[in-house]
């Protein structure tokens, strides 16, 4: 139904459809959080989901990550229909995420926190880990190597051995991104990566998001409130309001969409 990809304004080749959401409806009791929404995420693109508070953005992200299973609709991943799954099964398929409220292990060091992101890659059993010889040791070394590359990439070398609890907010966000990247995801879900940051921290984070996409070719789906950031970062934008999809397209298209303008400027709903 769709062609194979497109080329962005800055000359990146975007691939075919990676994640296809078809007619998703999600209810909590009588409340319809998501109403029959369809959209796709293509390989290599930065896809934003925006909308006013309570629009259902985080719920949508939770459907992608397998935390919620929709009552209606289908999730297609890499051309295959995905059966209802637990989050850890989804994670093994190569989808990693960060959280709106930071969810790190406060008492552990940055390094240990990022290492937990490698969990899905660790195969050796508990006993082998405890003895830490042979395979378990090799595995740890290999994983550490991946983690160190990410630490270098996100420029957090100086806090490698610092407990996360002692870090300022902006850095914690960066550590969370590091942990998500440690899983070497195909698709990275970012839930408000820039919430509560100052301008400088936002600029840094935007830089990192672009670099992740550029350097690792990671597909990124993000939720964000800061319009300026969204419009600068993303290739295509889905706009939600009250659980419905009211717009979908390039930042320019979305910006000129009357329904979107109404939703944001606050026109009365009938």
């Amino acid at each position: 139904m769709l062609d194979e990809g497109y080329v962005t304004a800055d000359g990146r080749q975007i691939g075919g459809v990676m994640m296809d959401m078809r007619g998703i409806t999600l209810r909590f009791g009588g409340v319809e959080a998501i109403k029959n929404i369809s959209f796709d995420i293509r390989e290599g693109e930065i896809r934003a989901i925006i909308g006013p508070n309570g629009a259902g953005k985080s719920s949508m992200l939770n459907v992608i990550s397998g935390f919620y299973n929709p009552q209606e609709g289908e999730v297609w991943f890499h051309g295959k229909r995905r059966p209802p799954m637990k989050p850890f099964q989804v994670a093994r398929q190569g989808i990693a995420r960060t959280f709106q409220n930071i969810a790190l292990f406060e008492g552990m060091t940055v390094l240990d926190n990022v290492m937990t992101g490698r969990l899905t890659q660790m195969k050796s059993g508990m006993l082998a880990q405890a003895i830490w010889k042979g395979k378990a040791e090799r595995e740890e070394t290999a994983n550490r190597e991946v983690v160190e590359k990410i630490i270098d990439f996100l420029e957090i070398q100086a806090i490698r051995k610092t407990p996360v609890g002692r870090l300022p907010y902006g850095l914690k966000k960066r550590v969370e991104l590091a942990r998500a990247l440690a899983a070497e995801p195909k698709l990275l879900l970012l839930d408000e990566p820039m919430a509560g940051m100052n301008v400088e921290e936002k600029e840094d984070m935007s830089r990192f998001i672009l670099d992740v996409n550029d350097e690792f070719g990671t597909t990124i789906a993000l939720i964000e409130h800061d319009m300026g950031v969204v419009m600068d970062l993303s290739d295509r934008v889905v706009v939600m309001d009250y659980g419905r999809k009211i717009g979908d397209g390039t930042p320019d298209e979305v910006r000129n969409n009357q329904e979107v303008i109404d939703a944001y400027l606050g026109v009365a709903h009938d």
């Binding site: 630490i151 070398q157 490698r160």
Partner: protein, 652 residues
């Protein structure tokens, strides 16, 4: 090791490199922490990397005598770039990595660089911003390609690609020819002076300058293969060039590069350098941090610290100077070393330091004494780019905080009528590039160079003492001597005062601007429950002003003790609402105050200091790190300071 080669003395850095490969081939020459692990390169491996890059430069069409700009943080690959440039017959020109785009543009344009070898995207962007002004710049070579994938690569190549092209090329004989013609008089490097006044000048240093100086200074401090340095100071600074290239090549020791600028302190601890240089500011900051941490320690630890530091202060310097120390003192010092001094040195990363230097600014006696008490052989040297660093330095066992030492080996000193210090040495620079006028006014026909500093040689010890910049030393209205730096240094010795600027030339009395030290004053505010929302607010807090007034009064009392300089007491002062900053042009990149610019920019404040007002409203333009400009406004309190009566020359 018996090399058995009756080779002539090496007369260039590439020749020294070849000698080191022959003598210490497998020993570590460079280390860099990357991905959390110290990676190392032996002399032989480093030489191969350098050759590959040099050949790569030749394939790009580098000509003999081309200038090659090098911008980035301290990394082995950029040190190799300097040597590779020399091997290709070119002249390396390291530039300050934190310089603004137009500063970089000025240097690139002035030296007509055809190639620039840069660290990362930040530097690439900086050059891209000014590229249309640079007609001669042909190619940019970058080390870290992150974020550069989408850039137009028509005139841009990665470092490793250039090396690969070099390895694949057949230009080895061309390179050998170019190395063969290098002699003692060929240019080794060109360094831009930070320029306290006017435009930066390109100081041309020959192989003779660099190698002779490196040899003399290495002998002076017995530097040898097996020593370790941490290269963390700007590569564009002459000191770093001499320590990390000149002396490292001459003595054959290992250069270690930190993982990132922020990790310098922990990298220092891991490497434990044996030869260490830091500006007074760094030592001061470390001491402030130690003292702040000790404030937070438990009562027992505090007691232990103060008791054994007192022992250290009493005995440490005497031990260092090889003076007689009683058996019981030795025993106590041993105990102090085991309990306090050893662990503290380890934490600071200074356990193995055999030779430590500081220079650039005066260092406070208590800071100096602190490190000497720890048993660290911290010495002072006096130098400048035009001298290839060394003019004077303190020999082991003759170390004091108020002198800068005896003339370095091979250096002759002369003090002019007006007190200005002149020197002549094998390190004296060749010329200022494309600036014959300045060359002529700085260096006379016999090779004597004016330092621009006023000072005198102490009769008793033969050590040089520097008072101030010669042009800053002036007269006040009543004819008494005005030496601002002398007073400023005394003020800056207080941990609460970061920077001070004293005015008074051709006036009837002296006044001062003061910058508070945010670390020290902020910590004090926290302890005393004083809330503040910004630097500006803290700087104008009445209690802060009281504290500073106390410091000024103390300084006045000590200045008054010297009859010659008693006129320099500070009568009125104000605390500035912003830190003096290099981005605003108020300081040089090496953090020296640009007096004229400060005078011009804050002329309204100076006027207020002299017209008796008690406060003044002011607006100041500031430049943020990314180059944007903004404006801050403030109302500043002006305080009168307690002035001490001048000491009578013939008291009683």
């Amino acid at each position: 090791m018996a090399t058995g080669q009756p080779q002539a003395r090496p007369v260039s850095i590439p020749a020294l490199l070849a000698r080191n490969v022959a003598q210490h081939g497998a020993k570590a020459a460079y280390r860099e922490k990357e991905f959390g692990i110290w990676q190392s390169w032996s002399w032989a491996e480093a030489a191969q990397e350098i050759d590959a890059l040099a050949l790569g430069l030749l394939t790009l069409g580098a000509n003999v005598g081309d200038h090659i700009a090098i911008v980035g943080r301290n990394r082995p690959a950029l040190y190799w770039a300097m040597v590779a440039a020399q091997k290709a017959g070119c002249v390396p020109v390291p530039l300050y990595q934190d310089a603004a785009a137009e500063e970089v543009a000025y240097a690139l344009d002035h030296c007509g660089a055809r190639f620039a070898i840069v660290g990362d995207q930040e530097q690439v962007d900086k050059i891209a911003e000014v590229r249309d002004q640079l007609t001669e710049l042909e190619h940019v070579i970058y080390l870290d390609g992150r974020g550069l994938r989408k850039y137009d690569h028509a005139a841009m190549t990665s470092y490793t690609d250039v090396q690969a092209a070099g390895r694949a090329s057949d230009m080895a004989s061309t390179m050998a020819d170019r190395i063969a013609v290098l002699d003692y008089d060929s240019t080794c490097v060109m360094l831009y002076t930070s320029g306290t006044t006017g435009r930066p000048k390109g100081v041309v240093l020959s192989n003779r300058n660099v190698i002779e100086t490196s040899r003399n200074s290495s002998d002076f401090d017995h530097l040898k293969a097996g020593d370790e340095v941490l290269a963390y100071l700007p590569m564009a600074w002459v000191g770093d060039f001499i320590f990390s290239i000149g002396q490292a090549m001459w003595a054959g020791f290992c250069v270690n590069c930190p993982e990132s600028p922020d990790t310098m302190q922990s990298d220092l601890r891991e490497i434990g350098p044996t030869y260490y240089f830091a500006p007074p500011r760094v030592f001061e900051m470390q001491l402030t941090n130690v003292m702040i941490r000790m404030e937070d320690a438990g009562r027992f630890k505090k007691w232990l610290f103060h008791k054994y530091m007192a022992v250290g202060r009493r005995v440490g310097p005497r031990l260092l100077d090889g003076k007689e120390v009683s058996f019981s003192d030795r025993l106590q010092y041993r105990l102090a070393d085991w309990l306090v001094i050893g662990p503290l040195k380890n934490t600071l990363g200074l356990s193995r330091v055999r030779v430590g230097y500081t220079a650039g600014e005066a260092i406070g006696p208590e800071i100096f004494d602190f490190y000497r008490a720890l048993g660290i052989n911290l010495k002072q040297l006096y130098g400048q780019t035009e001298a290839t660093v060394f003019i004077t330095q303190q020999p082991d066992g003759e170390v004091r905080s108020d002198t800068v030492g005896v003339p370095s080996p091979g250096v002759e000193l002369r003090i002019a009528e007006n007190g200005e210090v002149f020197y002549r040495s094998p390190g004296v620079f060749v010329e200022y590039y494309k600036n014959a006028d300045s060359t002529a006014s700085t260096k006379d026909a016999e090779g004597w160079v004016a330092t621009g500093d006023a000072g005198f040689i102490e009769e008793s010890s033969g050590h040089l003492r520097i008072i101030d910049r010669a042009k800053d030393v002036g007269k006040m209205v009543d004819g008494s001597l005005f030496a601002p730096k002398y007073v400023e240094n005394k003020l800056k010795f207080f941990p609460n005062i970061l920077e001070a600027v004293v005015f008074g030339a051709d006036r009837d009395r002296c006044t001062a601007f003061i910058n508070i030290d945010l670390t020290a004053v902020g910590n004090w505010a926290e302890r005393n429950n004083i809330a503040y929302s910004s630097y500006q607010e803290l700087s104008q807090h009445p209690q802060v002003l009281d504290t500073i007034a106390g410091h000024v009064a103390d300084v006045n009392a000590s200045v008054a003790a010297d009859p010659m300089l008693a006129g320099c007491q500070v009568h009125r002062f104000l605390v500035l609402h912003k830190e003096l900053d290099a981005d605003d042009g108020e300081m040089t990149r090496t953090r020296k105050v640009r007096r004229r610019i400060v005078e011009e920019k804050f002329s309204d404040l100076i006027a207020a200091l002299y017209d008796g007002r008690s406060e003044i409203y002011t607006e100041t333009e500031v430049t943020y790190e990314d180059g944007r400009k903004g404006k801050i406004t403030a109302t500043l309190d002006i305080r009168d300071a307690v002035v001490a009566p001048a000491a009578q020359v013939a008291a009683e």
